[in-house]
């Protein structure tokens, strides 16, 4: 899945249609695993012996904008 726009900027927004509310593990711009629970996501990755991903959360569609850690 492409998550970079023509600007070269990484876009979490591009992941929202498919992964809203989920934590996702990416290798490059490809989603390797996704789960609503980050502990379960890490367990999935460990079971598959995957250690080279970057993890982030995709906000839900109706989620309000986060200010700082609020």
């Amino acid at each position: 899945m492409a998550t970079e726009q023509s600007s070269g900027r990484f876009s979490v927004a591009a992941l929202q249609k498919e992964y809203a509310g989920c934590w996702v593990a990416l290798r490059g711009t490809t989603v390797i695993e996704a789960n609503a629970n980050p502990y379960d996501l890490v367990a999935q990755l460990r079971r598959r012996r995957i250690k080279d991903t970057i993890i982030l959360r995709v906000p839900d569609v109706d989620e309000l904008e986060t200010v700082g850690l609020g």
């Binding site: 979490v12 927004a13 309000l64």
Partner: protein, 170 residues
């Protein structure tokens, strides 16, 4: 280019989705964030981390500690207030790694820092916050909202740029 690390490292802001009813939906929601790797006995885990000049600490989601095998049971605890309430935060000394952005040749930087792991994470897109103590005292960070990029350089770059006698990081 600066030394073996090849500074400056220039990272693009990341784009987050806005609420569909937002007053500001016509402009993208952009954050200064970098990929940072937490190191631990069970291996590394990389997450996006918000670069937050207003934060005093490096703060992280609790699942990261479990993912890399950092034991928090004996860690001293400090309540911290963030918007929306207070959280218990357990502080440990951990190891972090920052790698150059894609397309930049350079050796990754590893450093030790005090990291505060929340009891519950408010669940923004990023898994950690990089604040003044542990990040801004290790690097010179320059942000441009116009360019929507941030540049990371060695800690003494600021001092050289402005002719200020440097104080090495602790």
């Amino acid at each position: 280019m600066d030394g073996e690390h090849g500074f400056p490292w220039v990272f693009r802001y990341i784009e987050e989705p806005r609420h569909p009813g937002s007053l500001f939906r016509e402009r993208p929601l952009l954050r200064p964030a970098v990929p940072v790797t937490f190191m631990g006995p069970d291996g590394p885990q990389q997450v996006f981390a918000l670069v937050d000049s207003g934060a005093d600490h490096i703060l992280a989601a609790p699942w990261i500690a479990q993912a890399v095998g950092i034991d928090l049971h004996q860690a001293p605890e400090e309540p911290l207030k963030v918007a929306g309430g207070s959280h218990q935060v357990k502080f440990v000394t951990g190891r972090l790694e920052l790698s150059p952005p894609t397309g930049t040749v350079g050796v990754p930087v590893q450093w030790e820092a005090q990291i505060g792991f929340f009891d519950t994470w408010p669940s923004p897109s990023w898994g950690a916050v990089l604040g003044q103590f542990g990040f801004f005292d290790r690097f010179t960070v320059t942000m441009s909202r116009q360019a929507t990029m941030l540049a990371v350089q060695d800690w003494d770059e600021f001092d050289e740029r402005f002719g200020i006698p440097g104080v090495p990081p602790a």
